[in-house]
């Protein structure tokens, strides 16, 4: 050990740090490919169905007249549409404030085998300063609708 010259030690440390960081980077890249949750609108889901058990996000408008509460009082079902297609969503929990029919929503969850989207979490518009990022890029018509909803 005593034979290690200072220059070599610096080099060795540098190599170890680089290997660890590159390793972390590769690991992160690999994990991100598998774990990042992709954003879908209903018409995407019908074309490219996400793999089962893959966590995804579904965004769109809560269709008017589709919101129903199950007899247990805590499960709700509704349709999310983007004007071209619609997907049934089921959610068990307390809905966020400003979650109403006709407004925008982002649901986080998985698509079940029967085509129902099982949401673990719903993100609605909190106020004019807090819009889920995905809702910002909706089509102009939808955006106008969202704006109209909140004004």
């Amino acid at each position: 050990m005593t034979a290690i010259k200072p220059k070599h030690q610096r080099l060795v440390l540098l190599v170890i740090a680089l290997v660890a960081l590159v390793g972390a980077g590769l690991l992160a890249a690999w994990a991100l490919r598998n774990q990042a949750s992709y954003f879908y609108v209903p018409s995407d889901i019908l074309i490219h169905r996400p793999e089962p058990d893959r966590a995804v996000r579904l965004g769109g408008m809560v269709e008017r007249g589709s919101l129903k509460t199950a007899p247990d009082g805590v499960t709700i079902t509704f349709l999310v549409g983007d004007g071209k297609a619609r997907v049934p969503v089921s959610f068990r929990g307390i809905v966020p404030s400003l979650f109403v029919e006709g407004s925008g929503v982002v649901a986080e969850g998985k698509l079940a085998a029967d085509g129902t989207f099982i949401a673990d979490n719903l993100l609605a518009k909190h106020d004019e300063k807090y819009v889920p990022r995905e809702l910002k890029d909706m089509s102009e018509h939808q955006a106008a609708q969202v704006v109209a909803e909140t004004k």
């Binding site: 290690i4 660890a20 992160a28």
Partner: protein, 648 residues
């Protein structure tokens, strides 16, 4: 009048920062020696003026002076006083002014008390601090002026985001900013040392208390923010891997690495270039965090600004500061001479491992936070959450925790693992024992299983450095290290216990019904309307009994604010030594039923106790370091005094 006073003070402070930069830089040259004398006083006055400007803004908010646009946009006369006061920094401009105030006060404080650095390094440090401040002054004055008047003057303000109307707003942002921005001192020290090429143990000893101070605030700020999110959002979670949380975690990871490497530099004169690099990285992470949060490219309750011009401004500042610092580092790193050598198995070796692991975790968090932006640039919309951060982070965190248990027992320079094997075997057996016991319980995820198994052994191992010491004579920094490491074990236990043992109940209940969650039985009495100064609420009245004990009244609320119109959920908590009951009331579920969501979270409070212990450990270490430095200065003064008398 007060608004103009504040604005003038801000302009003057910005001008003084310019003077500080010029005088500091010229002071380094051979001819500018005479200018060097003004740098310290200028830094102090700059800090005071900026502070005055911030106080002016606080006064405007407390008085709800609606002629000021910022107040009109973010405050309301019917708001409770504490939120008028704390609302000063509950908006983009105010929080940026707080940022600059902390930065200039920190610089002024360094200029006032720091006497250990060589004078030239000090000049370069203060010039560096002024350079970074100057950019943020420009940002405030040209694109985020907090004192802008509104015309016509509105009759009433628009109010503060109800989620922010909580006592947490009074503590969390200032604490976090002291840490976040306090790291600018480490950055400027690094710049100063690079400019004058004076990197060594003396530099590390001078830098250490400042890094410790910022790190303590950062730790407390993150802990407070986590608890605030936990009870305010009503989701029962305490960490969401939200980009904004990551923005505070990244500087903390870098500062934690810096704290450990600066100790190696101070004690052993090794890891010289690396420590300087970390000084640059830590504050760069603070600035990147500010960019992510303040540019509006991310969605979060923390993102106030949606003005793209502001985002570009911060991005340019970021590029200049970080790019400049890294270029300087690249030019000078090779000339920072090699430090002392050490064997792989040694205290230094363990600390290098800690540094590499922390850097890797930092990289993983940074990558995961930026990935949605990268993906969006390529046309894909993604979000990254716990399924990525938890397991990938753990791959590096678990080995790091294992080394944390052993590292403090190793000797500097060179050691043999065989020497400590006999001691380490005890906590190792404890880990195996807990793991064996847990293996019989089903339904515990892999990460909580690892966390629970490790926590006890880590706690025991963290106390081992005290073994065989005379506790009265044990130096404070050792106590600090032990406390902080024990805090890590405690927090880990809380996190793992919450994930493994939490019980959740979501029901629609009628008044009079009883709901049980774990050992708790909760009687739902009734729903009542209540009103506050700027909200009305539906309040659930419940009586909770733990294991047949005395009844505790709890009343979670669903609050409706009218300025701005928004609904928030006020959770109700019952804290016991062994955990917390968490209750949320939801919507009317029809048939006279109400949605109730209840959690029993065993030992969840350990997360934040652990965080406080970690900060306390830092505080002990800082007191110890500063006290011994003061003693040394006093002793040196006495010797000089005696010599002076003898000489006469």
């Amino acid at each position: 009048m007060i608004a103009e006073l504040g604005l003038v003070a801000l302009w003057l402070a910005g001008a003084l920062a310019g003077l500080q930069l010029i005088a500091g830089s010229l002071g380094l040259t051979a001819r500018g020696g005479t200018l060097a004398g003004v740098v310290r006083p200028v830094a102090v006055v700059q800090g005071l003026l900026c502070c005055l400007s911030f106080v002016a803004l606080i006064v405007l908010f407390c008085e709800t002076d609606l002629s000021v646009k910022l107040v009109a946009m973010n405050s309301h006369s019917a708001k409770p006083f504490i939120y008028k006061f704390a609302g000063t920094w509950g908006n983009h401009e105010g929080s940026m002014l707080l940022w600059v105030t902390v930065m200039s006060l920190a610089g002024g404080f360094v200029a006032l008390v720091e006497r250990r650095l060589p004078e030239r390094t000090m000049l370069a440090t203060l010039a560096g601090q002024a350079f970074v401040s100057l950019g943020f002054y420009a940002f405030l004055l040209f694109s985020s002026n907090p004192f802008e008047r509104s015309s016509p003057v509105p009759d009433e303000g628009q109010g503060l985001n109800p989620l922010l109307q909580d006592i947490g707003l009074a503590f969390h942002p200032p604490t976090l900013y002291f840490g976040y921005v306090g790291l600018s001192i480490a950055f400027s020290f690094a710049i100063g040392a690079l400019v004058t090429r004076e990197v060594g143990p003396a530099f590390a000893r001078a830098m250490r208390p400042w890094v410790l101070g910022a790190w303590i605030f950062l730790t407390l700020g993150i802990t407070a923010g986590s608890y605030w999110a936990y009870y305010e959002l009503g989701w029962g979670g305490w960490w969401f891997w939200d980009p904004v949380e990551n923005a505070s975690l990244m500087p903390w990871l870098a500062a934690t690495a810096l704290l450990h490497s600066v100790s190696v530099l101070a004690a052993r004169n090794a890891l010289r270039a690396w420590t300087v690099m970390l000084g640059v990285v830590a504050f760069s992470m603070s600035m990147i965090g500010t960019f992510l949060v303040r540019s509006g490219i991310l969605t979060s309750v923390h993102a106030f600004a949606v003005d793209p011009e502001r985002g570009s401004f911060i991005l340019v500042l970021l590029a200049i500061n970080i790019g400049g610092a890294l270029t300087l580092f690249g030019l000078r790193a090779a000339s920072v001479s090699e430090g002392e050598r050490f064997a792989p198995v040694s205290r230094e070796g363990a600390l290098v491992f800690n540094n590499v692991a922390l850097s890797a975790i930092l990289g993983i968090v940074l990558f995961g936070t930026l990935y949605p932006l990268l993906a969006e640039a390529m046309g894909a919309k993604v979000s990254v959450g716990p399924p990525y951060f938890n397991p990938v982070g753990a791959i590096f965190a678990v080995p790091m925790l294992l080394v944390m248990a052993v590292g403090p027992l190793l000797r500097w320079r060179r050691d043999a693992f065989a020497r400590v094997r006999a001691i380490v075997v005890v906590p190792a057996l404890l880990v195996l024992l807990v793991a064996a016991l847990l293996a019989f319980r089903s339904g515990i995820g892999a990460l909580p299983f690892i966390g629970l198994s490790l926590a006890g052994g880590l706690a025991l191992a963290s106390l081992l450095p005290l073994r065989g010491r005379n506790l009265r004579r044990t130096p404070l920094p050792v106590w600090g290290m032990v406390t902080a490491h024990l805090g890590i074990a405690v927090a880990l236990f809380g996190m793992a216990s919450d994930s493994a043992f939490s019980i959740e109940k979501l029901v629609a209940a009628r008044p009079g019904e009883t709901v049980s969650v774990g050992p708790w039985r909760i009687v739902f009495d009734r729903i009542e309307p209540v009103a506050g100064p700027n909200w009305t609420a539906l309040e659930a009245r419940m009586k909770a009994r733990y294991d047949g004990g005395a009844a505790v009244e709890i009343h979670p609320q669903a609050r409706y604010f009218w300025t701005p119109p928004q609904q928030t959920s006020e959770s109700a908590l019952v804290t016991r030594w062994n955990g917390q009951l968490y209750a949320v009331v939801g919507e009317d579920a029809g048939d006279g039923r109400w949605q109730l969501r209840l959690w029993w979270k065993p030992f969840v409070t350990m997360i934040w106790f652990g965080g406080i212990m970690i900060a306390l450990g830092g505080l002990l270490a800082m007191i110890g370091r500063v006290a011994s430095d003061l003693r040394r200065i006093v002793a040196r003064g006495k010797i000089a005094y005696r010599r002076g008398r003898q000489g006469r």
